[in-house]
Assembly symmetry: C2
Homo-oligomer: 239 residues x 2
DNA sequence: TCTTGACCTTGCCCCAGGGTCAAGGTTCGA
DNA sequence: TCGAACCTTGACCCTGGGGCAAGGTCAAGA
């Protein structure tokens, strides 16, 4: 006749868990002694070990209850299923872990290594933190919407960045963000940008875009995604 | 400006989860449209992906909240810790799985393969199911209290069972359970049992018992663990 | 005998959402 | 323009216990 605490120690379970099993009807409430304490027998201990074994494997308590007095065949089948489930859960955790290991610190936590490398390239180039932030958020969305497309796009963009003309244009666009919309440099920048795109249109426009929604969303609704000068640039290039 | 359902799809999260993040203050409540629907921007999507990434790794939401605007160093440290935790959880699940794989069906679920084999031996020997049940429950308790002792004991007991004299005694004790306490065969059985133990005392009594409590518990309080005939036997052997 | 610390009791709130509900909104095809 | 299908809203209950509160109990020592 042992108390709940001792029973818990024997079975390697908390007192709280035992009381919970009583509430759920998994373990019968034992008799009480004169002071109201629960008093357990060895039979309870045996039942408890069974419950613990199944519960530790992640079997829902409702199912444990059924399994406790199931016939051996059903039990064997159930165990196989439980094991399969366990295997899946391990694989999933391993996957999460791989992600975590691969993506270390800083930007790397939320974007792929390629994008992180690209952002670092921009930083070395002297691009503003505002712009880098904008790029990063854009890529997070791209990767979420379509990792494959994002992988293709980032590769292409990094290749583009090896072109000194493109780099110069990029930096100038970055700087233009804060210019007044009447700045005389804007029309010339618009012209050069148009020229560059005309020369490179063939490459960048031919691939089908699979998730245009998310791309539009990224561009349109980001706060700080535009400025008066940029708006004027857009009009100049369109007009 | 997208709805909650679309945002959920983008981020690979349920609508329910997003509302939960709002309640927990992880994700700011966005503006509502004229019909009261929440309307999200790309910024929300970015935040949500961050939250999801951390939450999937099992980080408590309270901690995610802090991590979201932590400095890079603290974040790197946190990630390392999260990864360690993940590793532990995988190891623990793997352990449970090993147990489950090893202990297939039937009695095997709750006792070691050795004990299961021993119980099968008893069954082949023609021991009553009542007695086998008694033995099984006893072993479950032993294994719970002290797996090492249990392993030693079961090995010894199986060896004992190779002795035809012991087997005969065991079977007769099993049969004696239902005898009337006045049965004339009882004194003779008690004598033979005492003799046998006298001859084998050297081996079975020399090892220290590490968890006598649980053993006594097992023997004393199991319902059906004794009968009038067995009680008489005990008295005969003691006297 | 009184106290101290460990143990027990019930009860309530918490996590991280999932399931389900009723009520109303939106969108699309007929 | 109507109805059907689908969406969104908040509210409430469920999991498997952990943590905490407030009180009763027990065994041992001063």
């Amino acid at each position: 006749m042992i108390t709940i605490g001792r029973l818990a120690d024997y079975a390697g379970v908390t007192v709280k868990a035992i009381r919970h099993y009583h509430k759920r009807g998994l373990l019968p409430e034992p008799g009480r002694d004169s002071s109201g304490y629960r008093r357990y027998t060895a039979e309870d201990a045996v039942d408890l070990v069974k419950i613990r074994t199944l519960a530790q494997a992640g079997v829902p308590l409702a199912r444990v209850k059924d399994l406790l007095d199931a016939d051996p065949d059903a039990l064997t089948a159930a165990i196989e299923e439980i094991d399969r489930d366990l295997r899946d859960r391990i694989a999933q955790l391993q996957h999460v872990r791989d992600q975590l290991v691969q993506l270390r610190g800083g930007d790397g936590l939320f974007v792929s290594p390629e994008v992180a490398g690209y952002l670092d390239d921009l930083r070395r180039l002297g691009v503003s933190e505002r712009q880098i932030h904008l790029e990063r958020d854009g890529w997070i969305l791209m990767q979420t919407a379509s990792p494959e497309d994002a992988a293709l796009w980032i590769a292409e963009k990094r290749e583009l960045m090896t072109d000194p003309d493109f780099r110069a244009l990029y930096l100038e666009h970055d700087a233009a963000y804060d210019w007044p919309p009447s700045d005389p440099r804007l029309p010339a920048l618009a012209d050069r940008t148009r020229d560059w795109f005309a020369r490179h249109r063939s490459r960048s426009e031919t691939r089908p875009v699979r998730n245009p929604d998310i791309a539009r969303l990224a561009v349109q609704t980001q706060p700080g995604a535009s400025s008066p000068a940029w708006d004027r640039l857009t009009r100049l290039m369109e007009g």
